[in-house]
């Protein structure tokens, strides 16, 4: 073929498109890439150096993601076919990633990774009879309370039974003085209400997650108890944005109890004034008949469905979740180990602020495992806030949450009918 000027012009015009063609080819990589978030991502490179990775295995590359964008990044990564081999995934996202087929179930030869774990955490990752991720670190929420104010009210610790707990809060509020409250339950956070609901034994969804169960007596009991805390003026009707600084307000006694996770231990030590360091403690959640429950949190390590390094990827997960590796993670980040044996090895039970977390984890309950859950629980809180502000009665609120949940679950019911869900 003779090159004419027209051919040359055409070729030149098409030149900018060339990189697009390059992008079309299959992406292969010799690296075993792992996506991780926040503090964990920052400490991973050091942790990986300590795991004795075999010489012939593919080299490991860590790509950090910010927590705030991680969920969207995982979904867009799946949509664009650019997920890596291994990833850190929040336990509450497992259901969603499993439903769309983005992650692999733990293969039979790696089942041993699931022993020596907290039951509720493993249960969170179990969907349709398969387990989809290996717990890496765990957390849950419980009460942080002012020891001194409870002592002045005549209690060594918050009582574990709802009625007594509430009676104690009344006394604490009196001790704390005018203008102060006993409890901080921000109206824009759903964790407080879900903790009460799990403690009351509510299942929240029924029919294989196809419909809301918010009108069942257990949930209504939790909802009524939640409302009564505001009606009795034990908790202020506030959202988190109106609290400028939780530590200052807690230190001043504006509230004496709030719900949070293990990350708050470090904050307490650094942000609460030195004169208040002996005045705070942690305690497991109360329930209607004593000893409440909580939702298990934390992250798991997963292997993505398209991983080219199947065996090596699971090998990496196994090495990062050994007792020793989790201990190293705990030392680097303060995260609580997912393995029970690591707790005893680290002597965590001797730390009075950490020990209640162990008790609470043993009394944890998995939340419903449907991809729509996050949105349902957001709607639940919007209705609950309106109830607290007087727009709904308890019965009306329960009915409204059910209606909203049922609307969000419409697609899931259709999927269940067709047998297309996991």
């Amino acid at each position: 073929m003779q090159l004419t000027r027209r051919h040359m012009t055409g070729a030149l015009a098409a030149l900018p498109l060339a990189p697009l063609l390059g992008g079309c080819g299959a992406r292969t990589s010799d690296m075993l890439t792992i996506w991780a978030m926040g503090n964990e991502a920052a400490s991973l490179p050091a942790l990986i150096k300590g795991i004795d990775w075999p010489a012939g295995a593919p080299p490991i590359a860590v790509q950090p993601l910010p927590w705030t964008a991680a969920h969207e990044k995982l979904l867009t990564g799946f949509a664009g076919g650019s997920l890596p081999s291994v990833g850190q995934v929040g336990n509450s996202w497992i259901a969603e990633l499993a439903a769309i087929g983005a992650i692999q179930p733990v293969p039979a030869y790696a089942k041993r990774l699931l022993s020596d774990q907290f039951g509720a955490v493993v249960d969170t990752n179990r969907i349709a009879g398969k387990t989809w991720g290996v717990p890496w670190y765990v957390d849950t929420r419980l009460q942080f309370y002012r020891k001194d104010l409870f002592a002045r009210a005549g209690y060594a610790a918050p009582p574990p039974e709802w009625t007594e707990w509430k009676a104690a809060l009344h006394k604490v509020k009196q001790v704390a003085g005018d203008g102060n409250y006993a409890l901080l339950y921000p109206l824009n956070e759903y964790e407080q209400l879900t903790t009460l609901a799990l403690s009351a034994g509510a299942r929240m969804l029924r029919d294989e997650g196809g419909r809301g169960a918010f009108s069942e007596p257990e949930f209504k009991a939790a909802l009524a108890f939640y409302k009564s805390l505001f009606d009795d003026r034990l908790a202020p009707r506030l959202s988190m944005a109106q609290i400028s600084n939780v530590w200052t307000e807690f230190g001043r006694g504006y509230f004496s109890v709030f719900l949070s996770g293990p990350w708050t231990i470090g904050d307490m030590k650094t942000r609460l004034g030195p004169e208040r360091q002996d005045d705070w403690g942690t305690a497991a959640n109360p329930g209607p008949g004593g000893n409440g429950s909580a939702a298990p949190g934390g992250s798991s390590l997963v292997v993505f469905a398209g991983s080219e390094h199947g065996k090596a990827a699971w090998d990496l997960v196994a090495r990062l979740t050994t007792s020793g590796a989790q201990l190293a993670l705990h030392e680097a980040t303060g995260d609580l180990p997912a393995r029970r044996s690591a707790w005893s090895a680290a002597g965590l039970m001797r730390d009075p602020a950490v020990a209640p977390f162990r008790a609470q984890l043993e009394h944890a309950t998995a939340l419903p495992k449907v991809p729509e859950w996050e949105r349902i629980v957001t709607e639940m809180q919007i209705v609950a806030e309106r109830m607290v502000r007087g727009q709904y009665s308890v019965d009306e609120a329960a009915k409204e949450i059910d209606a909203r949940a049922d609307r969000l679950l419409e697609k899931r019911r259709w999927m269940l009918e067709k047998g297309r869900t996991l």
Binding site: L75, E96, A241, S244, K411, W414, R420
Partner: protein, 298 residues
């Protein structure tokens, strides 16, 4: 010109414009049609996993949106931004343009650069600085207000102050661009007209109303059409400054679409929001054009 000549000219015209037309077709028209189609389906994460899970739902997405209180809240917020923000920004940028155009101002190029700078700086970086300026206790704005005896305002934390706070920020961020357009227009206004009016005894405001404004009327129209479209598409400001809060007081229609589409991954419903937004912008622009035609601006 002969028929043959005309035909070949037409052909050449098409040939010349076809690359541009092809790009417009490929990157603007086709995606728009695809998203219109998408808005009649229930594309969500289930469909992302397996396209067999996609259902054609007709107008259901639109019906549900119209029933959704948050959608109306977002719509109201956006219309407030348009109704208050457009005159505010147009007036601000016209004022700035007249300022940097006036002869008595020293260092005019420096002023032009300084006032244009906010438009070209990164939004996220400026938003971080503005969050400090608007801080309830440590912010410069409340400090300045305190000289006038105004008690501190919780700019980004109270549902009533958050909308004006975002407006002030958005106005500061975008007026520079409009200012440049106005400046170009102002420089075409003959100085003789202005001077003639002055000799006839017209004051500053009379000259603005009867000389300057009629001369730049088409530009005022252009700037307000652009600003209306910009205000309808306000997203990054509330996203960076308030995340739609407090109490959903700064959720705009585009922010609502982002949450629907990418936070909850309901792309079908998100596409429906996008189309309603398109219809809104189209309607308002048509009204603006009609008003402009009636007043003789075009």
């Amino acid at each position: 010109m002969s028929a043959v000549g005309r035909a070949s000219e037409t052909r050449a015209g098409w040939a010349m414009s076809s690359p541009a037309l092809a790009a417009i077709l490929l990157f603007f028209v086709l995606p728009a049609i695809a998203s219109l189609f998408l808005s009649f389906t229930d594309f969500d994460i289930y469909a992302l996993a397996d396209i067999g899970n996609l259902r054609f739902v007709g107008f259901q997405n639109y019906e549900r949106l119209l029933e959704n209180p948050l959608f109306w809240k977002a719509m109201t917020n956006t219309l407030l931004f348009v109704a208050i923000g457009t005159p505010f920004i147009v007036a601000l940028s016209l004022f700035a343009a007249m300022l940097v155009n006036s002869r008595w101002l020293a260092w005019r190029p420096v002023w032009r650069v300084a006032l244009f700078a906010p438009y070209v700086t990164t939004l996220v970086a400026t938003a971080v600085v503005w969050r400090y300026l608007l801080h309830t206790r440590y912010g410069l704005l409340n400090y300045l207000l305190s000289f006038f005896g105004v008690p501190p305002i919780d700019w980004l934390g109270s549902p009533t102050a958050s909308l004006p706070a975002i407006l002030i920020f958005a106005g500061w961020k975008t007026f520079g661009y409009n200012m440049i357009i106005f400046l170009a227009a102002l420089q075409t206004v003959p100085r003789e007209l202005d001077e003639a009016a002055r000799i006839d005894g017209a004051g500053w405001f009379m000259r603005l109303r009867h000389v300057t404004l009629p001369a730049i009327a088409p530009t005022v129209l252009l700037v307000s059409v652009l600003t209306v479209a910009g205000m309808f598409q306000l997203f990054a400001e509330p996203y960076v400054m308030t995340q739609g809060g407090p109490a959903q007081s700064t959720v705009t229609i585009l922010y609502f679409m982002y949450e629907e589409g990418f936070k909850w991954w309901n792309l079908g419903s998100g596409a429906a929001v996008a189309f309603l937004l398109f219809l809104c912008i189209l309607a308002v622009t048509l009204v603006q054009l009609r008003l402009a035609k009636r007043s003789g601006a075009i």
